[in-house]
């Protein structure tokens, strides 16, 4: 038998498409399967899922209503004065979206990544690392949106919504969730152990407190206000506040762009890092 009479496929030396080598498993077929997986998992952990949106709601009751009674009204940049709880609710709405997005992309991700080896199992199927990243981020966006929706319903029930533009809050919640899910997932791929997650908390607490969530930007010293203006949650808070209070203008495209870029950059970093970590 000679080399020539063998069938072609005996040695199907596949030439790499000129200049472009697809890494071993970047994009596969089904990021949707990852959403299904999380859905199945939370079916048995429903309490964990359902209680996830309570925190901002409780803050609304305590700080918004309780402390709000001591504060009275808040004068907005636009000039008119609103009750304190009307001011604070959009901020906490943005927090609800952020929380929903962060839970499964940081700590939840790490547990599965490090201890469950869940992603190793996924990657031995046709799924690729980009599927994993896209799937987890999409799931997180859904979770953030569910929490935001629940919070929005509460806001309407308490009469804290002033404008029909508030329906726009939902897509904004998804933007916020996208930004934080992408960034959270990217950050988590750099964590070495659970102890490192303290640094994520350390970043989230000031974002929560100082994104003009509880008091308007005018109350910050000049330099601090400048810093707050470039932080991520502030983008979400100011967007939400604008639509809930019916104060729309073209300038809002800036925070929208900010959040889209943040999520996308995070997602790309996460996919690349996952490839390095899971497919060495």
């Amino acid at each position: 038998m000679t080399a020539t009479d063998r069938p072609e496929r005996r040695s199907p030396h596949v030439p790499a498409t000129a200049g472009r080598i697809t890494p071993i498993g970047l994009l596969g077929r089904r990021p949707v399967a990852i959403i299904e997986r999380n859905f199945l998992a939370y079916r048995r952990m429903w309490a964990l899922f359902l209680t996830g949106f309570l925190e901002p709601l409780l803050y609304l009751g305590s700080i918004g209503v309780g402390v709000g009674a001591l504060v009275g009204g808040v004068q907005l940049a636009s000039g008119h004065t609103v009750p304190y709880e009307v001011f604070v609710a959009p901020g906490l709405f943005a927090v609800a979206a952020m929380n929903g997005a962060i839970m499964d992309t940081t700590f939840g991700f790490f547990v599965k990544f490090k201890y469950g080896k869940t992603y190793d199992a996924m990657l031995s199927t046709p799924l690729g690392v980009a599927d994993v990243a896209i799937g987890e981020v999409t799931w997180a966006v859904l979770r953030g949106a569910v929490y935001a929706l629940a919070f929005l319903v509460a806001m309407v029930a308490f009469g804290l919504v002033e404008s029909w533009w508030a329906v726009l809050a939902l897509p904004i919640a998804m933007l916020i969730a996208y930004a934080f899910a992408g960034a959270g997932l990217a950050a988590s791929t750099f964590m070495r152990s659970f102890v490192d997650f303290d640094f994520i908390s350390l970043a989230l607490v000031p974002l929560f407190l100082f994104s003009a969530t509880f008091f308007p930007l005018e109350r910050y010293p000049e330099w601090l206000a400048a810093v707050v203006r470039i932080t991520p949650l502030y983008q979400g808070v100011s967007l939400t506040r604008a639509v809930v209070l019916g104060d729309l203008h073209w300038g809002l495209l800036a925070p929208v762009t900010y959040l889209v870029v943040m999520g996308t950059v995070g997602l790309r970093i996460a996919a690349r890092r996952l490839g390095t970590l899971l497919q060495p």
Partner: protein
């Protein structure tokens, strides 16, 4: 009794050892978090309260003549003690019982389940005292601590931590996974944190809800701490609130020793 006490010390020693090796994260968090709340709520939001921009609020008069920063400082002090204690009594307990089984290693020595439980509680108190002292110092610099009696507030803080720790660890050791822990934080610890007279006086709660403050260890501790940092509290109040904290602790201890023993030594 001496045996028990030295056994508890052994366990505390171990916790301190671990803490020393990874102190950065926990220390930063348990100190910085309340300080950030103090800056955000006490100074930032407090500025709005004190300005009393009108509305239904009558500002300072509702706070017993205190400015908001002085009102919220003792609340945050004991609330962070509660948070630290809850954190120390949930996941580490699951690690000891199940993930790393260190508790089982401990009870295989002359230590028994009561030492493990007691050590955990004492350690929560130590943590609360450490981060509380640092917090009080910062609050004093910011002007949130009018009275020289303020250091006594640390006693309330430690009492709160130990009472909470005894109850929460009792819950935790009976669980088979950590799934319920986040739920407990969300439906237990956070509501206590927000509605126990920490951020606004409980008198503002709806009348039907207000009496429930009495079952919050945090409220008793907050009242005691506020008495110390402001210097205004009746002797009788001190007695009753202290008794309440001791009561929570006794219940936790009685129940917890049984549960720890059942989980670790049967």
């Amino acid at each position: 009794m001496t045996a028990t006490r030295s056994g508890v010390l052994r366990v505390v020693e171990r916790e301190a050892q671990i803490f020393k090796s990874l102190w950065r994260g926990p220390v930063i968090l348990s100190f910085i978090t309340p300080v950030m709340f103090l800056a955000g709520m006490g100074v930032g939001l407090g500025g709005m309260v004190d300005d009393g921009t009108g509305g239904s609020g009558a500002g300072a008069s509702d706070l017993g003549g205190l400015d908001y920063l002085s009102f919220v400082t003792p609340g945050l002090l004991v609330a962070s003690a509660m948070q630290v204690a809850a954190g120390e009594s949930l996941w580490p307990v699951m690690a000891g019982k199940k993930w790393m089984r260190t508790y089982h290693a401990m009870v295989a020595t002359p230590l028994d389940a009561r030492h493990v439980f007691g050590g955990l509680i004492v350690w929560s108190g130590v943590r609360a005292a450490m981060s509380g002292a640092a917090f009080l110092l910062v609050a004093a610099i910011l002007g949130g601590v009018p009275s020289p009696w303020a250091p006594l507030a640390l006693l309330a803080s430690v009492g709160c931590a130990m009472a909470v720790s005894s109850l929460v660890a009792t819950f935790a050791v009976g669980q088979e996974s950590d799934q319920s822990f986040a739920v407990l934080m969300r439906i237990g610890i956070i509501p206590l944190f927000l509605f126990s007279g920490t951020f606004f006086p409980v008198e503002q709660l709806p009348d039907a809800v207000e009496p429930f403050a009495a079952v919050s260890p945090l409220w008793h501790a907050a009242e005691l701490a506020r008495g110390a940092t402001t210097g205004h509290i009746e002797a009788l109040e001190v007695l009753l609130h202290s008794l309440a904290l001791v009561g929570f602790f006794v219940v936790g201890w009685w129940w917890g020793t049984r549960r720890f023993t059942r989980e670790l030594q049967t």
